[in-house]
């Protein structure tokens, strides 16, 4: 019979229309029609979506206790492996005699820049880092008007404490901490 398909389609949209209102859901329930909560929109600036712990955005550098005690030793593996080549490291730092300078028993980078407008959040830098010095952040509200001033993150902007890492990614941070503790022994 011609026309039935059209009417059934209209039925589907009307059911969805009703499902978005509490009274509509009540009506459908009263008629013994299975319902779901119709509204799926997350009203973004007011309500933020609950992201999973593994949600990754741009990388950051982890430090323990004080910012000069950063885990990065400027080995430049991440710079080499970064697919879009957005990491730029100068270092390791040298003292006046040209010998590697050390802080807390480790070499450290002079400059560490990540061009986050080029970064594609692939997480390869985290995978390859032998020192667990770089991790993925979950901050995503980073828009700005200045391409080089705001979109190129330098060392100061990238450094974040281990507490922060433990807060945003508890499971991953726990395994990393366990690994580092095992290494120390």
């Amino acid at each position: 019979m011609i026309g039935i398909g059209v009417l059934r389609g209209m039925g589907v949209t009307f059911k969805t229309f009703l499902e978005t209102y509490p009274w509509g859901r009540g009506l459908l329930r009263a008629l013994r029609i299975p319902t779901t909560n119709g509204l799926v929109t997350v009203e973004y600036p007011d309500v933020k979506q609950q992201h999973h712990e593994r949600f990754r955005y741009f990388p950051f550098l982890v430090y323990d206790q004080t910012p000069d005690n950063l885990r990065c030793v400027a080995c430049k593996i991440c710079e080499q492996e970064c697919p879009p080549a957005c990491i730029h490291i100068i270092g390791p730092a040298k003292d006046e005699q040209g010998r590697p300078a050390k802080a807390h028993g480790r070499t450290y980078p002079v400059e560490f820049d990540i061009d986050i407008s080029v970064c594609m959040s692939c997480r390869i830098c985290v995978d390859v880092c032998p020192f667990d010095a770089i991790e993925m952040d979950n901050q995503y509200e980073l828009s700005g008007f200045d391409r080089f001033g705001q979109m190129v993150f330098n060392k100061d902007k990238l450094l974040k404490p281990n507490d922060y890492f433990q807060r945003i990614k508890p499971t991953e941070a726990a395994t990393v901490d366990a690994r580092l503790a095992a290494k120390k022994k």
Binding site: I2, M10, F14, T16, F17, G26, L39, T41
Partner: protein
């Protein structure tokens, strides 16, 4: 209750009484024109809001929520945005026609309001050729669409304009034919006369009336280029069709014309087939009482639904019996119900192809419209025995519709098979 019904009419009468007798006809015209000119943009603005809200809800979304409570100020912010946008005339376009076209499309849309009977005694001009005026005015939009498409000097615009003209001219024929039956039965072209003829029975409750109503409504949808008949705009194919090259306020004028015309189509369908400003002639309050009893005693329903439903039905029955609902409220309620249907169609369907659209008009609606006149004739000549006339005309219509479907051999009737390979 009479006061509420006539509140706008009395207000106008009071306003007129402030002026000397000689000026009153002129003031009366000025007031009517002023009111229409003031409410038309308002109606259009809130139709866009309504459409966005309803379609959003059908798509699991909120729709506009940001500007004002429930996004109620959204149309105003849209209007401001449109006003401050750059007005672009493409190079090589005809600037004069380019600006005239949207104006020419808006003017008839507003003119249609002149013969719209909003309520008892609430019509700007009760022309005795009201229906003729309706069709004469509404056909002007084909000129404006072609003008706009041609003046834009864009291939997409030309294609859209060609489609628009073909479609509007084609759908005018079934549109007029569907109304011929109404003219036959009522013997008048005046809108007020037609509404008053439906005091005993809305025409939609007769076989020829329901067919005519559907045909008039669908042809109207086609004439105002809305989904599923939005061929001239065809966003996915022709970018924007005839208004591809329009921006800013000129674009807004096109939209205003489209929305006002779709409101007009709903209003005139209400007037011609749904009893206009009149409440249901059938003693619906009896039905309401009956429903109240059924709902109250329905054991399958949960208790709150039962009590609320019964109270609502009882209330509705009392309202109907005492006739407190003013005529203009009836008219607006019916019209907005049709507007909801219009939006519902848009939210559900894809559009037809241009040749299928023409086929529908010429191969199905046109013959059915002619049969419908015959059916109305049968119904009228057998009015002494109403049930027999009703059945006879229904049979004629059903048989011819079925024959038309068979004669057109629509491909969707063939079933499809799918094989599974392991």
């Amino acid at each position: 209750m009479q006061e509420l019904d006539q509140v706008f009419v009395n207000a106008k009468g009071w306003l007129l009484s402030l002026f000397p007798i000689g000026l009153r006809p002129w003031v009366s015209i000025a007031v009517s024109v002023g009111v229409i000119a003031a409410i038309a943009p308002f109606i259009m603005m809130y139709l866009t809001w309504l459409e966005r809200k309803i379609i959003a809800r059908m798509q699991n979304r909120f729709g506009p929520t940001r500007v004002g409570v429930y996004g109620l100020l959204q149309p105003i912010s849209d209007g401001i945005k449109m006003l401050i946008k750059e007005d672009i005339v493409p190079r090589g376009a005809d600037p004069l026609l380019h600006i005239l076209a949207p104006i020419l499309s808006l003017a008839p849309a507003i003119l249609l309001f002149a013969v719209m009977p909003f309520g008892r005694n609430m019509i700007a001009a009760d022309l005795n050729v009201g229906l003729l005026y309706l069709f004469a005015i509404s056909s002007i939009s084909s000129y404006s669409i072609f003008m706009g498409g041609w003046a834009s000097r864009s291939k997409f615009s030309i294609l859209g304009a060609m489609r628009g003209v073909a479609q509007i001219i084609s759908y005018e024929v079934p549109g007029v034919l569907s109304v011929v039956a109404v003219i036959m039965i009522t013997g008048t072209l005046s809108m007020v006369g037609i509404v008053e003829a439906q005091a005993d029975q809305w025409f939609v409750f007769t076989p020829w009336g329901i067919v005519g109503c559907l045909m008039f409504f669908l042809s109207g949808v086609a004439e105002v280029n809305r989904t599923p008949f939005d061929m001239p705009e065809a966003e996915s194919e022709l970018v924007g069709g005839f208004h591809t090259e329009y921006s800013g306020m000129k674009f807004a004028l096109w939209y205003m014309a489209e929305f006002l015309e779709s409101f007009a189509i709903c209003a005139f369908t209400t007037t011609l087939f749904l009893g206009g400003w009149q409440g249901p002639a059938v003693p619906f309050w009896v039905l309401g009482l009956l429903l109240a009893v059924i709902v109250a005693t329905g054991t399958k329903l949960p208790a709150p639904i039962r009590s609320v439903g019964a109270a609502a039905m009882l209330g509705a029955a009392v309202l109907w019996r005492t006739q407190v609902i003013p005529s203009w409220a009836w008219f607006l309620a019916k019209t907005y119900a049709l507007v909801f249907v219009l939006v519902w169609l848009r939210g559900t369907f894809p559009r037809l192809r241009v040749d299928q659209l023409m086929g529908l008009a010429w191969k199905f609606f046109l013959p059915l419209g002619l049969v419908n006149i015959v059916a109305a004739g049968i119904w009228w000549s057998l009015r002494e025995t109403p049930w027999f006339g009703w059945i006879a005309s229904a049979v004629v219509l059903a048989l011819s519709a079925w024959a038309l479907v068979l004669a057109n051999k629509p491909e969707p009737l063939q079933p499809r098979t799918y094989i599974y390979a392991d």
